[in-house]
Structures are given as structure tokens and as C-alpha cells.
């Protein structure tokens, strides 16, 4: 059991860092494109021109 305990404790510290990053990003309004993804799924037509990745 102790091996699992050690692994879990290690993951807690990593998770704390991750959470801090998450909270930081929310406060900074880091989410850029939240317009096109929800609309894109509505179109099942085959895409003929590649989407412009640089605007992301």
C-alpha cells in the first residue's frame, strides 16, 4: 500500500501546481477562441479549405 501512498502524494503536489495555473489563467481571461468551436460542430459538410491555424 505504501507505494500507492507515495505516488498519490507526489501527484498532489503536481496537481496543486496545475490548479494554480488554471486559476491564474481564468483570472487573466486566457481563453481565446470560444466562438468558432461551438459553431464548427454544426457543420457536417466536408471541409474543403484548411482552417487558418495562425489566427488561433
Amino acid at each position: 500500500m505504501s507505494a500507492i501512498v507515495i505516488l498519490l502524494i507526489a501527484s498532489i503536489s503536481v496537481a496543486a501546481l496545475f490548479l494554480a495555473a488554471f486559476l491564474w489563467s481564468v483570472r487573466n481571461g486566457q481563453f481565446d477562441d470560444d466562438f468558432s468551436p461551438p459553431r464548427r460542430i454544426l457543420f457536417d459538410d466536408p471541409i474543403t479549405t484548411p482552417t487558418d491555424k495562425t489566427t488561433e
Binding site: 501512498v5 498532489i12 491555424k53
Partner: protein
């Protein structure tokens, strides 16, 4: 860039859709059967496999893992391909996944009916099936992540995150909770004991609700609702936030299933706090779903698919409001162990899961067979039957739960308990009858759906491979400053690891201290390991699913102490592999019931409970009077317990059976003195 042509695999979606409908009907029928037994004990047919204690796990497992499970796979295999603009990673893995899962379901049904069970709710399946589940789940994972990796759309749509979180967490939950020590091919003991087993089990149980019945279905909602309404989700940002909040908070809430039990107080409080917090991300999802229909409510009037989705999401909102309320200690003091809990889960099961599944099937089948639905009117009738069914199901059970809790807690002016336990049961039987009518309506609705879909399929022509085109992903070369969330979205494996970490933190913080801090489980000198006969008897208790109706946990309330004796302490359960605290008192609590009644009372009561308690709704267990214990299994069981730390003396496995016979003979003698007719006893 060259556009690639490829085909979506609809065949696998079709199979999973068929399985969803089939197991839905099977699971609901089992549920109805179990419900009828609560007022007509004769419906158990005096036959071991059809008693409530075995039918009920069949019902819960069939609904959760067969009906909802196949519904999830249907939706995931359909939407993931389209969201990734790619065919599934491997057709062969898809097939292995499908047949593997159905094989697990069939073997689960057979073994549960035969009484092979671990005795842990929603994790009843024995160890070989647990291993099979793990393997098939890995196959599903490889197939899913393989598809994500070879996708032609860089952005991972919100639904895919929900699928990923589901896969990761269910894998973790299943493995941790299923750690058990095999005694024979189909019998094992939980690795954990008592309080620790309870904590692990409800960490699992609660998160099975969270990550099997909630997150994947939310993923389906984020795909199928916008598609059916033909408008984008209300707020994409909200979906991102509520996703992370949900998976982080959910994992901590498990102990709310153990309020006022022998679980340490700090763990209970932690569970309460996080349960209350859960309301925010849950309602975030609910509101996001309902607001998606803003300006489109006219479509809801016309379209049965949307009708189903609207009621499903509303039920999700109700259940996730009620959940935090039930997790408050003062509310839980009333609701726990009563039918209130059953009503609550059926708002989620019938409303949220069932209606999402129905709506999705009504939307999918016509599309894959390129034909309109056979009858919208029939689907609308199904909708109304189902909705009214949910109301007629749930309201009587809320009533029953509240009534029974009040009756349990009522004292006379002289300070005596006012009601016998049995009186509190017979009082709510009318509610049980009404509830089964509600359930029947719901089942009839589902049968209408099967007919409707069958007619749709008959007139359409199936598109097995649906053509599509998309450009392959460009290699990302530009290093414009990227935000971390975008960075994670484009790296499914990183995200997998991150989700695992997020999920592990909650479980770890709750579990590690209980395992490590010995003071959490004070040992009690008088608590001795089970005698070999008691151990065998306990296994019968587990086998017959007694825990589906009886608790073994006296909570520290005046009425419970008056009715059942001193409240339960953690130290009493240190040798319980698995714990059997139960979650519902259809019958009275059985903690320390051994020796309370004469042996002859039990003998008659097992033969026909109504001889000893007129009006009892317990099934009769007459076959137990003739069944023989397989004493050959005793040494292996003792050895397994020794491995788990139960302090039997060294070499006890060899002499255990003689102790067993001595104890059995003394009971036999006492039964004889009470002039019971006994079958011939044999030494084996």
C-alpha cells in the same frame, strides 16, 4: 493542402445503439420486478436467483453499465469521429470493445443471479469480470486516444474533454475499488476492511455516478443538444470552466454517503463541503444546456428529441440541486436509509440518463438510416408516458421516505419508540405500489421507442460508412504565445495525465489519512475475528444481497440507539471484508443482531418471514434450510483472511472446520430443543 477523403464508421454506432435499447428494456424490467417484490414478496417466486437481493444488483448493474454504458459508447463512437474528423482508430478494437462489453454484461447478469457477488454496491462483479472490465476499458481507451491523435481538427471540442475525463477516472475508480483477494474462481474478499472499505467503496460509488452517469452524458449533451437544436452551445467558456470545476470537485464528495456513520468526522465534513460546492459546476452545465435553446423553444414544441433533452437537463438540474441538499447532515439524518435516496437517484436515472439516451437514439437512428423518424407522434407519446412515469415514480417515494423517517423517529410521551419497524414498512406499501405503476409507464414508453425505431430502421437504408472530407492537421510551426489551455487541448496525452492528477488529488487526500492514522479506527478489545461458521454465514449474507435491504450501521440518534442499541463504532468493523453497512433500510438494521433472537426464531423466519412477522415484505429463504455449506472452502477463506491481516492463529485453517462443526452442532441442538424439524446433517 490536400483534402483527404475518409469514412465514418456507423456500423459500430449501430451495434451499440441496439445494445442500448436491448439492455435498457432488460434493466428496467429487472427494476420493475424488484419494485413489485416490495409489496408482493411472492413475486420472488421462492427461487434464489429471483429474490430481491439478487434482482436488485442485476437491475442497478444493467441500468448503469449496460444501458447507460452502451448509450455512452453509442454517443462517443458517433460524435468522436465527427469531432475529430477521423474514422475510429481501429475497426478491430471497436469490435473487441463492443463484444467484450456485451460479454461482460452477460456474464455479470449470470453470476449476479447465481449469487456470485463482492457485496459492494455497483461494484458487485467478481474478480475475473473485474479484470475483463479493465481490459475492455483499456481497449476503449486505446481506440479513443488513437482517434484523437489521428484527428484532422486541432481543437478538441468540449465534449471530448468530458469523454477523456470519463475514461481516466473510471479506470482509476474501478481499479482502486476492485482490489480484492481471490479465494476461488468466483469468490473474493475486498482488500480493505470496515471503515476503509466503506470510504473506498463510496469514493467509488459516488464517482461512478459522477464519471459514468454524469460527465460522459454531459459530453453527449454538448454534442447532441446543439446538433438537434441546430445552434451553438450557449457559452463555450462556461463549458470549459464547469468542466474543470466539476471533475475537480466531484472526486471529493464521496463521504456524503457515510454521514453519521463510523467514518471519522473530518472525512464526513470534507464530503459535505465539497458536495455543497458541487452545485455550482453542476448548475453551470444545466444552465448552459437549457440556455442553448434560447430563441429555439418553438422547436421544442415540434421536436420530440428536444423534448427529451429538455426534461433530461431539467432532471439533471433537480438531481444536482437535491444532491448537495441531501449531503447536508441535518437533511441526511432524515433521508438516509429511506426511499428518499431511491427517488433521488431515479430523477437522475430515469430523467437525466434515460431521457438523454432516448433523445439521442431518436436523433441518431433516422440520421444513420437516412430517413425521417417513423412516427413523431409515437415519440411524443413516449415522451409524455416517460415524463408522467417519472413523476408517479418519484413523488410517492419522496413521500414514503419522509414518512418512514418521521415514523422511525417518533417517540410516545412516555419516551418509548412509537412504531415497530414493521409498522413503518406496511404504512408505505401503497407508495410502493404507486411507484411501480410509474415505473411501468416508463417501461411502456421505452417499448414504444423500440417499436418506433424498429419501424424507422425497416423503412430506411443503413449508411455503414459515411463519407467525409477534411484536410490533415498541419504541423504547428509558429510559436506565437500560446495560452496553456490551448496547449493542453492540442495534446491529448498531456491532458490525460493532467486529468488523472486532478482526479487523484481528491481521492488521495481523503484516503491516505484514514489508512495511515491508526487512531481513526480504534480497536476494541472485545471485537474478535469471525468464527469459521460466522465467516461462512457472512458469505451467505453477501451472496443473498441482504445488504440491499438491511444496514449494519447504528447511527448516533436517539431513535436508532433505542431501537438497535449502542451506536456503531469504527473498531467493530476491522475484520469486515467487505463492509456491509448498507445504504437502505427496507428491513431493520442488523448490526450485532447475532444472538438477539433464539435460533428457532431465525429458522422459522428464514422459512417464511410472515410466520414470525405478519405483514413482512421480506422474501422467504426456505432453500437456505436445506442448503449445505461447502466446508471445503473454509481453509482457503481463513488463509485469505490471514493474508488480509485478520489475526487467526497460525495453522488455524487446518482446524477451522472442526470449530465450525462444534458451533453448528450447538445451534442444531438448540433448534432440536425448540422442536424444529431439521434435515439430516452430514459431515463433509
Amino acid at each position: 493542402m490536400q483534402v483527404e477523403k475518409f469514412y465514418y464508421d456507423n456500423k459500430i454506432v449501430k451495434w451499440f445503439a441496439y445494445a442500448t435499447a436491448l439492455w435498457g428494456i432488460v434493466g428496467m424490467t429487472a427494476g420493475l420486478w424488484a419494485a413489485i417484490q416490495l409489496y408482493a414478496p411472492g413475486a420472488a417466486l421462492n427461487f434464489a436467483p429471483t429474490t430481491f437481493g439478487r434482482i436488485r444488483p442485476v437491475h442497478t448493474n444493467a441500468i448503469i453499465f449496460a444501458f447507460v454504458g452502451n448509450c455512452i459508447f453509442t454517443g462517443v463512437y458517433y460524435s468522436l469521429q465527427r469531432l475529430c474528423k477521423a474514422r475510429m482508430f481501429s475497426d478491430k478494437l471497436s469490435r473487441i470493445h463492443f463484444w467484450g462489453w456485451q460479454g461482460i454484461i452477460v456474464s455479470a447478469a449470470i453470476t449476479l443471479l447465481l449469487g456470485f457477488t463482492t457485496g459492494k454496491e455497483y461494484a458487485e462483479l467478481e474478480w475475473p469480470i473485474d479484470i475483463a472490465i479493465t481490459l475492455v476499458w483499456v481497449v476503449f481507451g486505446i481506440n479513443m486516444f488513437g482517434t484523437i491523435i489521428k484527428r484532422r481538427e486541432r481543437h478538441l471540442y468540449v465534449a471530448i474533454w468530458f469523454y477523456i475525463a470519463t475514461w481516466v477516472t473510471v479506470a482509476l475508480l474501478h481499479i482502486v475499488n476492485s482490489i480484492e483477494i481471490p479465494v476461488s474462481f468466483l469468490k473474493s474478499y475486498s482488500w480493505y476492511a470496515g471503515v476503509q472499505d466503506a470510504l473506498v467503496q463510496w469514493w467509488y460509488g459516488h464517482n461512478a455516478v459522477a464519471f459514468f452517469l454524469t460527465t460522459p452524458i454531459l459530453g453527449l449533451m454538448y454534442y447532441f443538444l446543439p446538433k438537434a437544436a441546430n445552434r451553438p452551445v450557449y457559452s463555450y467558456r462556461l463549458s470549459i470552466i464547469h468542466f474543470w470545476a466539476l471533475i475537480f470537485i466531484y472526486i471529493w464528495a464521496g463521504p456524503h454517503h457515510l454521514l453519521y456513520t463510523a467514518l471519522p468526522d473530518w472525512a464526513q465534513s470534507l464530503g459535505v463541503v465539497f458536495s455543497v460546492m458541487l452545485i455550482a459546476p453542476s448548475w453551470g452545465g444545466m444552465l448552459n444546456g437549457l440556455f442553448t435553446l434560447r430563441g429555439a423553444w418553438d422547436k421544442v414544441r415540434e421536436e420530440p428529441v428536444l423534448k427529451f433533452f429538455v426534461v433530461a437537463i431539467t432532471c439533471y438540474g433537480m438531481a444536482t440541486f437535491e444532491g448537495p441538499m441531501l449531503a447536508l447532515k441535518n437533511v441526511n439524518a432524515i433521508s438516509h436509509f429511506t426511499d428518499w435516496t431511491i427517488a433521488h437517484v431515479h430523477i437522475g436515472g430515469l430523467g437525466w440518463n434515460g431521457f438523454m439516451a432516448f433523445g439521442m437514439l431518436y436523433w441518431l437512428i433516422p440520421r444513420m438510416w437516412a430517413t425521417p423518424l417513423y412516427s413523431k407522434k409515437l415519440a411524443t407519446n413516449h415522451f409524455w408516458l416517460g415524463t408522467i412515469g417519472i413523476v408517479i415514480y418519484a413523488v410517492p417515494l419522496y413521500w414514503a421516505g419522509f414518512t418512514q423517517a418521521q415514523m422511525w423517529k417518533t417517540f410516545t410521551e412516555e419516551g418509548q419508540l412509537k412504531f415497530q419497524f414493521l409498522e413503518t414498512v406496511t404504512h408505505i406499501i401503497p407508495m410502493y405500489i404507486t411507484r411501480s405503476i410509474g415505473g411501468s409507464l416508463y417501461l411502456i414508453g421505452a417499448l414504444l421507442m423500440v417499436y418506433n425505431l424498429y419501424k424507422t430502421i425497416a423503412k430506411g437504408s443503413f449508411i455503414a460508412d459515411e463519407a467525409s472530407e477534411a484536410a490533415p492537421l498541419e504541423k504547428q510551426t509558429s510559436h506565437v504565445r500560446q495560452y496553456w489551455h490551448r496547449w493542453i487541448e492540442s495534446r491529448p496525452m498531456t491532458m490525460l495525465v493532467f486529468s488523472l492528477i486532478v482526479v487523484a488529488i481528491g481521492g488521495a487526500i481523503e484516503m491516505i489519512p484514514t489508512f495511515l492514522v491508526k487512531s481513526n479506527v480504534p480497536t476494541i478489545a472485545s471485537v474478535k475475528p469471525y468464527t469459521p461458521l460466522e465467516l461462512q454465514g457472512r458469505d451467505i449474507y453477501v451472496r443473498e444481497g441482504c445488504y440491499t435491504c438491511h444496514s449494519q450501521m447504528v447511527r448516533p440518534f436517539r431513535d436508532e440507539v433505542a431501537r438497535y442499541g449502542e451506536y456503531s463504532k469504527a473498531g467493530e468493523f476491522v475484520y469486515d471484508h467487505p463492509f456491509q453497512w448498507g445504504s437502505k433500510r427496507t428491513g431493520p438494521d442488523l448490526a450485532r443482531v447475532g444472538g438477539k433472537y433464539p435460533d428457532s426464531w431465525h429458522y422459522n423466519h428464514m422459512m417464511d418471514p410472515r410466520i414470525m412477522s405478519p405483514g413482512s415484505i421480506m422474501p422467504s429463504y426456505s432453500w437456505l434450510l436445506d442448503n449445505k455449506i461447502d466446508t471445503a472452502s473454509t481453509p482457503a477463506k481463513i488463509r485469505a483472511m490471514q493474508t488480509l491481516g485478520v489475526p487467526y492463529p497460525k495453522g488455524y485453517d487446518k482446524v477451522a472446520n472442526s470449530d465450525l462443526m462444534t458451533q453448528a452442532n450447538s445451534i442444531r441442538l438448540s433448534l432440536k430443543m425448540d422442536k424444529m424439524k431439521l434435515p439430516k446433517m452430514q459431515r463433509s
